[in-house]
Symmetry: C2
Subunit: 319 residues, 2 copies
Amino acid sequence: VTPAATDALVARALDGDRAALARVVSIVEQGGEPARAASAEYHRRAGHAWIVGITGAPGAGKSTLTDRLVAELLARDSTDSGTRVGVLAVDPTSPFTGGAILGDRVRMQEHATDPRVFIRSMATRGHLGGLSASAPQAARLLDAAGYDWVVVETVGVGQVEVEIAGHADTTVVVVNPGWGDAVQANKAGLMEIADVFVVNKADRAGARDAVRELDAMLELSAQRAWRPPIVSTVATGGEGIVDLVAALESHRAHLTAVGEVAARRRSRAAEELTAVAVELVAQDALARCQGAAFDALVNAVAEGTTDPYAAARELLAGS
Amino acid sequence: VTPAATDALVARALDGDRAALARVVSIVEQGGEPARAASAEYHRRAGHAWIVGITGAPGAGKSTLTDRLVAELLARDSTDSGTRVGVLAVDPTSPFTGGAILGDRVRMQEHATDPRVFIRSMATRGHLGGLSASAPQAARLLDAAGYDWVVVETVGVGQVEVEIAGHADTTVVVVNPGWGDAVQANKAGLMEIADVFVVNKADRAGARDAVRELDAMLELSAQRAWRPPIVSTVATGGEGIVDLVAALESHRAHLTAVGEVAARRRSRAAEELTAVAVELVAQDALARCQGAAFDALVNAVAEGTTDPYAAARELLAGS
């Protein structure tokens, strides 16, 4: 893709061409120079969407919840202009095959033909900051393309997932009934990023206990101006989704009222800039991790004749 | 800590001084120049330990399993020299408070006074490759300090955790009975890194189904020379731990017989070198992400007058 072709593609994507938008998301995902060129085109048009991050342990029902949330956001729209919702499902990738597993996204195809909805899975790609940079960038792109809501759903409760969710305007943490799930959420650092809690599968035994545990943990947490509401849902049956949307709207109204939207976005810009800076230097370092000089250093490390730090310095000093 | 003091500390750690060892782990964990200096001292003495990675979803019972595994490894030892076991528990850190939650490690204090055991929690610290570099380095340090087994237990199934487990000689993936857990393990890329599967909490309903699901997924996977055994355990009661140790020994014997130990260690050296190289450049980039120039660029990004990529390039070009 030439720079001029990228510019034209981004222009079409921002103009409502969904196929073009899908291709630009791929460009953003792959990173490198084309992603940077695209970013320059769309970044200035962003800033209108409300970005909702959804995170929680694997199996908590985040995909189904996202599915229902999208339907409810669309259903509430009574304007002519039409609410549009973008979904980014950040899936873990096998470090060996490089393929995202999209099985549970198939269900969302009911929305896939709806022109008001744009759904995209993104793969995570290791620890080099690529994801931290690319998922928020893709959210920014959907924002610039005119989506009113962008839902970023992350699978897993690793650090990276927590960070992605932290880039949202409203972060939803999903737990299930059952001993320990709320405690695990606390351990994984989710308590501090949650703006809204969802106890999903609330028809199961222990749902009230889960709400109580979360409530107790919120009591023990540092008091903030916003106390995260706890919403009980049965996503498979659509129960509680109206309450979830109400909680999102309420959080949005709160942030707007206290003037914290700009502060959050500034802090997000700082994180984005940091992530991109690290990505740029990491890509440069990775480019050096191949070839004969690298192989020789690897052998020396494996045989114990040097240590990884000395070898890395030698590698980076080479030209 | 001066370089000379670090050298002396590492020498004492390698000589069996556990307090010194604990301090060197902290140095490795904190990274930077002192970690590099320490690495040069211990790296060449490593290469004798068998490193066992234990990973799986939060709440799967990995800590208890590790606890029991340590006890069993010690109990099997009938030599005078004495088997020594090191444990690195890699805990998620809240991105906001920076504190690892060590509550569930308290239980392991039964081993804490045992001179044959060294236990240490390590915090994860974001997406910048610091963890990927520091946990394997700490494992290498315990190896050099003469621990025969080093168990690296990671909480969570994020990409980083998968990578850490991938640095092991034998990687154990822990799942629980219950619909979907095995499927989630597959989604998270764990099928491909597992050398041994453990179905823990095997006294619960669905344990046989979980074994069957894993078995079916192994059938569908690419055939490898080693087919991961599936061990059922009830870690809280100590059941199946003998089988787990047998599975570890069997995998070790297999890798040794086919000559893959050296190949794995070489590939590990390549990953370590890459992680360290990225860490070095990332630290340099991070050092630039503060101060007036950075703040001005953040404001420009937040206001949409520039994009993160252009801003990052400007930041990195500055001196």
